[in-house]
């Protein structure tokens, strides 16, 4: 192994799209990748500010997503509203606890865990923490990987609504909660892409493991 040197320290930029290692024309205007033509960035622009904005927006949407109903079931004139937790309870009481557990993890715990994890990564980067870099990078990868799964309940609601249209006996309508819920998933997924994991390592420390 050569001495541990990052591309930024060597005045180089690894293209985020095609991986080509390019010498930056200047620090302020690195230009474009000569191979794939995409704009070169040593670090994603305003990564911390943008990620914070998205995390805060997602955290705000998380509240109505959990409090507002995601489904309304009308049976013979009376309408019942279900929140996400209500759906979990329904699945549990109807005997399928594995599904109740999946929905609980995907819809309640994963989005909350993602918000906490991104907040922790942002704060630790801002405090220029230089410990447990590897673990924090792993946490970031997990946030990136797991993000799509919280869309689960949006799909469940969509197909329930599409199928159960037996008017006048029974009809299922989506509630406003489902929109906030989808917004939480989309916002946290974008937040994971605006966060730059290289910032974790920029504070130095733990050069070689």
């Amino acid at each position: 192994m050569a001495a541990a040197l990052t591309a930024a320290q060597a005045g180089l930029i690894g293209c985020e799209h095609c991986g080509l290692l390019v010498r930056a024309a200047s620090a302020d205007e690195p230009g474009h990748c000569p191979r794939c033509g995409s704009a070169l960035e040593s670090r994603r622009r305003q990564s911390i500010e943008r990620t914070w904005a998205l995390v805060i927006a997602a955290a705000i949407c998380y509240i109505p997503a959990n409090l507002l109903p995601v489904l309304g079931t009308t049976t013979l004139g009376s309408t019942e509203y279900d929140t996400i937790m209500g759906g979990v309870v329904f699945l549990y009481t109807s005997g399928s606890w594995p599904l109740a557990l999946i929905v609980l993890i995907a819809s309640v715990m994963v989005p909350l865990g993602k918000l906490i994890a991104l907040g922790y990564l942002l704060i630790s980067v801002q405090r220029r923490s230089s410990s447990s870099n590897r673990e924090r990078t792993r946490l970031y990868r997990m946030v990136e990987f797991i993000g799509r799964w919280s869309m689960l309940d949006v799909f469940v609601d969509t197909f329930t609504v599409a199928l159960v249209q037996l008017s006048p006996l029974m009809a299922v309508r989506p509630g406003a909660g489902v929109m906030f819920f989808a917004a939480v998933v989309v916002l946290t997924m974008i937040a994971a892409t605006t966060f730059d994991p290289r910032l974790i390592w920029d504070a130095g420390g733990e050069q070689e493991s």
């Binding site: 290692l21 109807s94 799909f155």
Partner: protein
Amino acid sequence: MQTLACPDCDLLQSVPDLPPGGKASCGRCGHVLATGTADPISRPLALTIAALLLLIIANFDPLMGLSAVGRHASTTIIGGAYQMWIEGEQATAVIVGFCAVVAPAGYILFMLMVLLGAGRTPVPGWVGEMLRWAERMRPWSMVEVMMLGILVALIKIAALAKVEPGFGMFAVGVLMLLIPAIEVSFDPHAIWQRVAWVKPKTSPPIAGDSAPEASS
């Protein structure tokens, strides 16, 4: 041998030429820097064509049917998004339609163009652009999440009425396995090395990325 910057921690590292099935990880953060593929085109191409056929079946055949009190109803993926739209949840309908239909179709079609283009010599420049689009679509393609969502919906509805899984659902099930299989068998690095550069080398790279044989 080539020098790469780790996309996750920016460390510069020399990556040797890898045998098929070989893998090089970043020594500092563990990110997989490169994989060795014996045949970068035929296997992903075969999988992509299979995925394209299943995508058509998954989108046009009903996912499931429901019968209750002498009435029958069935729905497709697009039908689900459409129902969401007419129930007044347009924003949700757009997200569902994008993640369930547009992104998977986009990923498969862009990959098809990449793999067909990469087989030509010289490799046309638009292959790189298509590859970038495929990578942009991939995180939003949620076929596997949708499959689990359909199963949960099936079980929830089974308490109210009789449900029969449709042909489209089986197609979604196989598609759910094919998309990660394309990803695993595909090595974007091998494609990038063949793609023609967009501009004359105004800012020349220091490492022999385009010429893996070059000694460093």
